[in-house]
């Protein structure tokens, strides 16, 4: 079979769906491919998003949201903790989503805007004409499908191939991927009002463990470790140990594993006729691992640039430059900063982490944002944080 359109979007995660929705709303003929038979399932996510930014981009349906949290609590390796408040501090938290419902809902919005959504349809490679991509070959429910399109969006997540097909090397070095394992846990011990973060090199080497509540004593309890500190099966093993020490009576009702890019902005996310969006473009926040909002934001930009570039008739890498410029000015700038924090954070010993968190115990940081908190941290621990002084102004 074959079909023709203006834009093919590969992958129906939050990045792909926002791109498809934006491009279709601008009047383009859009086809979005998803290799899974069920969009959003299995989940590879802890499902936390900042409420403000999320609501700027979509009007959430009530069933997209599992719960709303008040703030974030951070535990040092020695067990002491600090609290940051939602409305100011943890712009990383706010809502804990139900991604199976949300991802499908967002794909539905793209469909309602006019995009054609094809599930159980896997992109196999780019079609080329005179050295320039002119569509994708796919397999739809096991049958070959040829799609002709001058523009291809790679929103194909951590396992992205579209970039590689177009000559962009998106391979993640082991120091730039967090390897995660997570259980959905039912336990009376769960704090329904706060997302919790647990630091420590025994708990999660060069990463952290988390508990993101999903309402009624249910939470995503997981952890991520840096790929370079991983060995076979280590993430799951550490999670079982964490469950034993922190939620010994927790009942596990679901399991999630996955890799989360933490590379910071990569060199290029465009090629002739190709743009990469979301995890495929490694647009996650390297420090927190949050990638939903960045994928959505990049998707909106990609959709807008797609419409402009098609109208202008220039889909070359140069014609798509506006996409690079716009996401780098916003998402990329934050990512670069976050990457420096990450590179520093992964070197800290438990003693350092205890000192940093302990130093805040007498300060009132409940109303502070992350930047404000870092400023206070720097003032209290100038020696330890000397390397980061240029970031704290």
């Amino acid at each position: 079979m074959s079909m023709k359109c203006d834009v093919v979007v590969v992958g129906a995660g939050p990045g792909g769906s926002m791109t498809a929705k934006t491009a279709a709303a601008a009047g383009l003929k859009v086809v979005m491919l998803e290799k899974r038979q069920e969009i959003g399932d299995p989940v590879r996510c802890a499902e936390g998003v900042g409420k403000r930014v999320f609501c700027q981009m979509v009007k959430p349906e009530p069933d997209w949201i599992a719960t709303e949290v008040k703030g974030a609590r951070i535990y040092a390796p020695d067990g002491s903790s600090i609290v940051m408040s939602e409305d100011k501090g943890g712009s990383e938290v706010g809502y804990v989503l139900e991604r199976k419902v949300f991802d499908r809902g967002l794909a539905m919005e793209a469909a309602r805007a006019g995009a054609k959504v094809l599930v159980k349809t896997r992109a196999l490679g780019l079609r080329m004409k005179d050295g320039v991509p002119c569509g994708v070959s796919a397999l739809r429910i096991g049958e070959p499908l040829q799609i002709e399109a001058p523009l291809i969006i790679g929103a194909d997540g951590v396992e992205s191939k579209v970039g590689r097909w177009a000559g962009i090397d998106t391979t993640l070095p082991l120091k730039d991927i967090e390897i995660c394992a997570q259980f959905l846990v039912s336990d009376p011990k769960i704090d329904d009002q706060y997302t919790e973060f647990f630091l420590g090199n025994t708990i999660a080497p060069a990463g952290y463990a988390w508990s993101f509540p999903k309402g009624e004593k249910l939470a995503n309890v997981g952890l991520g470790i840096l790929g370079s500190r991983s060995k076979p099966g280590e993430a799951t093993r550490l999670l079982c140990a964490f469950m034993k020490s922190h939620f010994p009576n927790g009942k596990v009702v679901e399991m999630v594993v996955g890799g989360d890019p933490c590379s910071g902005p990569i060199e290029s996310t465009t090629a002739d006729g190709v743009m990469l969006v979301g995890d495929a473009a490694r647009q996650t926040d390297p420090l927190t691992g949050g990638g939903i909002l960045n994928a959505m934001q990049a998707g909106i930009i990609a959709g807008e640039v797609a419409a402009k570039a098609l109208a202008a008739g220039d889909l070359s890498k140069a014609g798509l430059k506006e996409y690079e410029d716009r996401w780098r000015a916003d998402i990329g700038r934050h990512q670069a900063r976050s990457y420096e924090f990450k590179e520093f954070f992964v070197k800290l010993s438990d003693k350092d982490l205890n000192q940093l968190i302990g130093s805040l115990s007498k300060e009132d940081i409940s109303k502070m944002d992350l930047r404000g908190m870092l400023r206070v941290l720097f003032k209290l621990n100038p020696k330890l944080l000397w390397e980061l002084r240029h970031l704290v102004v």
Binding site: C180, G227, G258
Partner: protein
């Protein structure tokens, strides 16, 4: 040879993202290994459930 323990694999795609040879492909719940595999073992290190192994 790189082996996939399909009873362990949770089809998360992390290994696909780190393979320098682009030798892996996740087909829904089925991880495929192509002839491009260099048996470098990078992917085995990061598999969250330990489903990958390079065997002589």
């Amino acid at each position: 040879m790189l082996t996939v323990n399909r009873y362990k694999c949770c089809y998360c795609g992390a290994c696909v993202g780190v393979c320098p040879a682009a030798a892996l492909e996740l087909v829904e719940t089925w991880l495929e290994v192509s002839a491009d595999c260099k048996e470098c073992g990078i992917c085995t290190k990061i598999c969250p459930v330990g489903a990958l192994e390079v065997r002589a």
